[in-house]
């Protein structure tokens, strides 16, 4: 069994990511303490809700520091949707509130002339002609523009999607995988990505699943 711990954010739907990991043979438990966040062999930072309250809660529960440490060390951590945004320096959604600052970028509001929320399946690109896969998104904020290049310059492997311009779909470095999309809701491709993350805690594999 592969033990996985999900940070229990107190928000309702952790179930989808929980069962998706269980289907892949993971043994999933929910955790709330800084010690568990520091020690967990594999950790999931789920993403539902808004940036400000979610970050406030991590700070209040003492989880921000152990989270940041394990992320900087590249230890196996999966961040989903808002989870990815919390890894950034800050967000337009809560201008005064600092994020975990592991991704050296800021989260912006999606352009108002586009459909917002961006809800549905988008092809994922890594600079080649053919999409890497397709994934399900449900978000109103994203990392965009020149920030994408800054991530790659910091050693992050990046996937992008398009919504009135390219935005960050996923970033990966060592054991850390941050997804703006929901891998747990992204069909068989999403399951392959989760399986790759479960099976490769050091993040040695550099290609994305097909």
């Amino acid at each position: 069994m592969k033990p996985v711990m999900i940070i229990d954010t107190g928000l309702a739907n952790l179930r989808s990511v929980e069962v998706a990991l269980e289907r892949l043979g993971a043994e999933v438990t929910r955790v709330t303490s800084p010690e568990e966040v520091a020690r967990s062999p594999r950790l999931v930072l789920p993403g539902v809700g808004a940036f400000g309250p979610a970050m406030a809660r991590l700070d209040r529960d003492g989880l921000s520091i152990p989270l940041r440490q394990r992320l900087l060390a590249g230890r196996p951590t999966l961040a989903v949707c808002l989870g990815l945004q919390l890894l950034c320096e800050g967000s337009d959604e809560a201008p005064g509130r600092r994020g975990l600052g592991v991704l050296p970028v800021r989260v912006r509001q999606l352009p108002a002339d586009q459909r917002v929320p961006n809800m549905g399946w988008c092809p994922l690109q890594n600079g080649r002609v053919q999409p890497v896969g397709h994934a399900y998104f449900a978000h109103s904020f994203a990392v965009t523009g020149s920030d994408l290049g800054r991530l790659e310059a910091s050693g992050w492997q990046v996937l992008t999607a398009d919504h009135g311009g390219p935005y960050l779909a996923a970033a990966r470095r060592q054991g850390v995988l941050a997804c703006q999309f929901h891998p747990e809701l992204s069909g068989s491709w999403g399951a392959s990505l989760l399986a790759a993350w479960l099976d490769d805690p050091a993040g040695k594999e550099t290609s994305w699943p097909r």
Binding site: N13, R15, G49, M119, G120, W121, C122, Y136, A138, D162
Partner: protein, 251 residues
Amino acid sequence: MAQVRIIPCLDVRDGRVVKGIQFQDLRDAGEPAEQAAAYALQGADEIVMLDVTATLEDRGARLQAVDRIRRVLNVPLTVGGGLDSSDQARRLLSAGADKVSVNSAAVRRPDLLTDLAAEFGRQCVVLAIDAQSDREGGWTVTTRSGRQKEPLQAATWAREGVRRGAGEILLTSWDRDGTGQGYDLELLAAVRAAVGVPVIASGGGSTPDQMAAAVAAGADAVLAASIFHDGHWQVGDLKRELQRRGVEVRP
């Protein structure tokens, strides 16, 4: 821009999938979890489950159905039917729903949308609107499975609903539902013009041409039930036909 979603709808009653015309004459069409998994395997982009008779005593059964579907489903699941409180929404989301759909209760108490968006985020909140064409050339909102006409126009209510917190509109044409005559394109265009959030077309869609027309009228997703339950179309075949018509769908 996200690709156009194809959404099979499971109308559930007493734990079974049923189908009928204009919400009447319901017939049995299978087990929800089995059907959901089968449609996902065919390429369904999302599943909507509407519990058409979710009375108080049925709510436990519905939670069990959501739990069973979630265990086998790896695409998004939206659940609705008689939902009238944040508390119920929380239980459905905990059981494995990714979004909740509200209808009559939001008309009675629009603050419900605000409450749901504040607690769960607007991406979890779907406003279902059942609209019926009226003599003035507009569309009247109906509630209680079409039995009650409300003093509200569909496009106006859609805009108000989004302002209060809905992140998506599930727009059903009462006139077309179950008829297979195609989506109400004028209704779609009117609601599309009123809101910036995704709109799901529902009611009357039975062919690729009708679905392509709905997309051209502004739909971000198309929902259908009987064409899938009756085996007239496999989701994958339908998507290939839509691609041939220039509609961008997930392959």
